[in-house]
Structures are given as structure tokens and as C-alpha cells.
């Protein structure tokens, strides 16, 4: 696949990973205001990157397929395929 797709996906995966780690931390430290602020920031960035990726390369969630002219959710590459990560 093209470089632009891979780079954008990596960036999205990085923010998503960090956001999920903050989620797990907050589950046991719900009153940590600094952590919650960081979580909000990471989720906002993740969501923006997801939206950008979907606009350029197709749906990441099944329901996002509704935002397109044609139904393209089922189309390759699927995440386990090398082509999705290359």
C-alpha cells in the first residue's frame, strides 16, 4: 500500500494506544484530573485521525460505511493482512 496510508495508520495507532492506556489508568484513578485531561486530549486526537483516515481510505467501523456512496466495509486489506500494515 502507499506510504501516506501507512504513516497515517501508524499515527492513528499510536494515539489510540496511548488513549487506551490512559483509559486503563483512569479506571483505577478516576479522580486524577491531570490524567483525565490527557485522556480527553488523546481521545480527541485519535478521533480526528480516525475521521481523516476514513475520508481518505475507507471505513474503520462498520457503521462508518454509511457515510460513503457505495458499501465498502468488506473491502481488503483486512487488518491481519500484510498489505494493511505495509
Amino acid at each position: 500500500m502507499e506510504t501516506g496510508r501507512t504513516e497515517l495508520l501508524k499515527k492513528l495507532q499510536s494515539y489510540n494506544f496511548a488513549a487506551y492506556d490512559m483509559l486503563l489508568y483512569l479506571d483505577t484513578h478516576p479522580n486524577d484530573k491531570k490524567a483525565f485531561a490527557l485522556f480527553r486530549d488523546l481521545v480527541e486526537k485519535t478521533n480526528k485521525l480516525k475521521a481523516q483516515f476514513e475520508r481518505e481510505y475507507g471505513p474503520l467501523r462498520a457503521y462508518s460505511a454509511a457515510n460513503f456512496e457505495k458499501f465498502e466495509w468488506y473491502k481488503s486489506p483486512w487488518p491481519w493482512e500484510k498489505e494493511a500494515n505495509a
Binding site: Q13, D27, T28, P30, L60, R61, A62, A84
Partner: protein
């Protein structure tokens, strides 16, 4: 309920297929200390957790473990893709190929199909949490 994100938690791109390595890694998919066991352990234990904090925590950890399961499955899939039976035999992994071909089957490296006997889900929250600690420590 669960819904699916069409991307891996971390990118995986394997250049050289390797049946023997696939045979080793499959235990992290469906073996006694694998990701399937981990996800089922957390997601089953959460039903008897007594407070909101542990209900949320076990839900979110169990969900992340499903993401790990997908990554390990991806490793085995890419290590196996396009390989021939004779390559598995040459690498002393012919038994795996005989049962499963170049597919991703939830089993241990030694061939035991996934068995929930390797996890414990009790009604006692502390026992569950100790079991989680032991299971995480067993992951090499």
C-alpha cells in the same frame, strides 16, 4: 456489546514466513497462558465483581486482550501464509500442518486445543484478582 475497529492495536508486517515460529507462537493464541484465555478470564470474572471500579477495569482489560488475540493471530497468519506442507515438515512442525494446514487454530504449541481449564473464574473477587496476577506473571 462489542464492535470492531478495522485496524490492529500495533502494526504487524512479517517479511519471511516461518512455520516453526508460527508453531511456537500459536500457544500465545490458544494455549494455557494465551490471549484467548486472558480475554475470557477477565470478561467472565467481571460479572461477579462487587464494585464499579473493578467492573470497569476487567471490562476494559478483557476487551484489550481481544485486541492482543487478533495481533497474535495475525503473527501466525503472516508466518504461515503461502507455506507448503513440506516446509512445515522440514522445520519439525508437520503435525501442526497435518491438523490445521497453514491456518490459525486455537491450540497450544504441543497441539492441545484451547481449554478453559487453564483459567479460573470464581465467585470471590480477591481469588479472581490473584488468579489474574498469576496468569499475567506466567506470560513469558
Amino acid at each position: 456489546m462489542f464492535s470492531y475497529d478495522k485496524f490492529l492495536q500495533y502494526p504487524i508486517k512479517i517479511t519471511n514466513p516461518n512455520p516453526k515460529l508460527a508453531n511456537y507462537i500459536i500457544t500465545q493464541y490458544g494455549g494455557p497462558n494465551g490471549e484467548l484465555a486472558a480475554s475470557l478470564r477477565y470478561l467472565s470474572q467481571r460479572y461477579t465483581m462487587p464494585d464499579d471500579m473493578t467492573k470497569g477495569l476487567l471490562t476494559d482489560i478483557g476487551t484489550e486482550e481481544l485486541g492482543h488475540l487478533e495481533m497474535v493471530g495475525t503473527l501466525v497468519s503472516q508466518l504461515s501464509k503461502g507455506t507448503l506442507g513440506k516446509e512445515w515438515a522440514q522445520m519439525q512442525s508437520g503435525e501442526y500442518y497435518a491438523d490445521n494446514g497453514a491456518a490459525v487454530f486455537p491450540q497450544s504449541s504441543q497441539g492441545t486445543p484451547f481449554n478453559a481449564a487453564s483459567i479460573a473464574v470464581t465467585g470471590d473477587p480477591l481469588t479472581n484478582l490473584y488468579e489474574d496476577l498469576a496468569a499475567e506473571a506466567a506470560t513469558l
